[in-house]
Symmetry: C2
Subunit: 409 residues, 2 copies
């Protein structure tokens, strides 16, 4: 298929962060041309007074839990996990599929074209991704065998999932050891071995709460990141999630190994984890920061536009200084940085990049629409429901706010 | 006109906080009946799988500035005010009207039916309110005469505005001394005299930043609230805005006089004011808490759903405790508490109340839609663009997300 997006404000997110008023031409799953374009296309979208953006990339969620939103609010992480584990014990694959469909539709409708997931039963999530047409980086969750509720050995399950999907177009498999409090050194190193064998990424919750840090230090004498460094687990292929409670020494350890960071401010705040990820110091040390919603149970939506605003405002408030974040930095987190973290040829609108693009109608909160205010509007004014079109891998999934292959209500 | 809202999930916000699956019947500008209703109505709205809520009440904004959003991001309040005062110096009444139209349309589209404004030229804002049909509590801004950019004496301007609008249906005038750093004791007491003479409310920025507190203490030997108490300015008719930097002693002074509180978490966070309003202690002392967006320049939208989420999450994060806020408390802030603060016969869906009602489509982030999750969805999942219908004073202003009296794009 070919698509011509006409006359939009194109936020390229290229090296120069250019904003161009013009057209984008897509053939098959690639961006072929940008500028003032004269060409016939099978599908033409009028983007006049619209913002054309790279599709947002959500680097952490548990999409199979989406239908459980609203069941564990206003309680601490400990109580939250108790409620979740009880609920999850009663769920089967069809529940997870239903949750995934809800969550993936929400993401597509609100401007997310790629997400990173962590869960068991990622085969079910993979099916939902392919049914709806979103790009999924699906991390099969691994915990110590005595803790698991999975049938069989989680490591073997993860490996067979990776084998099954490693050549897929939309689904990229990875391995997701859960956390230091659920994974032994042996489990972590075996996960790493599998990742290296198949050349996949690894993602893991790290230092989300003070409790986690306190307990791990009591057990090992080391803080989680120190310990992960010692056992040789830190690498450029690791996407560490949360990373709220870090020392400067730990930030240096992460930076030395180029560990990628998934920052989940809304979830952290909602769970009252306290403090805030030390963003300023992490940026000073050159870490690649990306953003995640976390699950709909601890957020309670999957709207990356809302996460962008929370990310920017949390740190301004925490540092008593409005200048520590800025809108361009935050848009980078959600697009080009996340693409870099995933090794994905997307996250910017440039010739030769994958055609993962969203088109935002700025009404009513993003007007007046002027070139010098676009980046501000994206972070501070819009939300996901401003998304009018979502294009993934060159396919139009959402058009005029509705799923293209779905009947009107 | 008569309106029948059929078969919705009605979040009554009555004394028992009942949630009813049923109908709401409106005649003229009043709610006449709630339940399973058999009646003919001129306008019938099918609210199946929708949430029916009292219209939200935004207790602080400067709506005439809406078109300036995006001009002063990522800078401290001092720099912010410098930029704003420079921009505002070049604006005329038509600019303010245009800003107000933008902002009021945004509020109506995102579920706000009543707002409290603070600005000069409130006569222009009043015109915009009446043109669009929103309920406006319009506070004519007062500063010391040597600081004003208004033509004539701000106090006299305020008084003549109050005289002009005191019997209006939609517009309720009030007086709005700006802050302790722009208003002398004399200006404040004269403002109070005018308020008492006409029986209006007063609204004022109080203790927004540490700088304000520091400077005022240096000048007077007292913190702002202590000083306002000493000069006899605190009263149940005062809506204090921000109130971020308070001592426990000051909270007691506010509570003794039943001063009403407008909490503006998004603006406070975006400006990096630091800390957080001491919500927990204020609730302990029985203060009436309400919510405001502040202007679109320091937010940068006027979406009260977003403000509800920021309000809840800010305090969880600040206290390292997810249980210090809960969704019902936050919905109360934005509805019934605000109505109480304004002396407005609204904020809940009950027989005899004003027909200020919104209807929310929960798709895609507020599903599954179940009775026990509705309040959570309102605060944590939805945003203003989920608003499908906005009814103010018995008139349908927004229907199916579009302004009823406006042509399709």
């Amino acid at each position: 298929m070919s698509i011509l997006i006409k006359n939009g404000w194109i936020v390229t997110q290229d090296g120069k962060r250019r904003i161009i008023n013009g057209d984008v031409y897509i053939e098959e799953n690639l961006i072929v041309d940008i500028g003032k374009i004269k060409v016939e296309a099978e599908y033409v979208i009028d983007a006049t007074n619209r913002i054309v953006l790279p599709g947002l990339i959500n680097t952490h969620t548990h999409v199979g839990m989406t239908d459980m939103r609203g069941l564990a609010d206003d309680v601490s992480l400990d109580n939250f996990l108790q409620i979740m584990w009880k609920e999850e014990g009663e769920r089967g694959k069809e529940d997870i599929y239903r949750g995934a469909i809800l969550g993936i539709k929400e993401m597509l409708r609100t401007g997310t074209t790629t997400f990173v997931d962590m869960y068991s039963d990622e085969d079910v999530i993979a099916r939902a991704c392919k049914d709806l047409g979103i790009r999924g980086y699906l991390g099969w969750a691994v915990v110590d065998e005595e803790l698991t509720t999975q049938e069989g050995d989680p490591l073997k399950n993860a490996e067979s999932f990776i084998r099954e999907y490693r050549d897929d177009d939309l689904v990229t498999p990875l391995i997701a050891p859960h956390a230091v409090y659920t994974c032994s050194e042996e489990t972590l190193l075996k996960s790493q071995e599998i990742a290296e064998k198949y050349g996949t990424l690894i993602t893991m919750h790290i230092s989300e709460t003070r409790r986690e840090v306190y307990d791990h230090r009591k057990k090992t004498g080391m803080r989680p990141v120190e310990w992960l460094s010692k056992i040789g687990f830190l690498s450029e292929n690791l996407i560490g999630v949360h990373l709220v409670w870090l020392t400067l020494h730990e930030i240096k350890l992460l930076a030395e190994r180029d560990v990628k960071v998934s920052h989940n401010p809304t979830s952290n705040m909602k769970l009252g984890n306290g403090g805030a990820m030390p963003l300023v110091e992490m940026l000073d040390h050159g870490l690649t920061i990306t953003l995640g919603t976390d699950s709909a149970v601890s957020n309670n939506n999957l709207d990356m536009f809302e996460v962008m605003k929370f990310a920017s405002l949390l740190h301004k408030n925490e540092r008593w200084d409005a200048s520590v974040t800025n809108a361009q930095m935050i848009v980078d987190f959600a697009t080009i940085n996340a693409a870099k973290a995933l090794g994905l040829n997307a996250g910017s609108i440039e010739e030769g990049k994958l055609a993962d693009i969203i088109i935002m109608n700025p009404e009513p909160s993003g007007i007046p629409l002027e070139k010098n205010r676009l980046i501000s509007h994206i972070v501070y004014s819009l939300n996901g429901l401003n998304t009018e079109y979502t294009i993934v891998n060159g396919k139009i999934i959402v058009a005029q706010g509705k799923f293209l292959n779905e009947k009107e209500d």
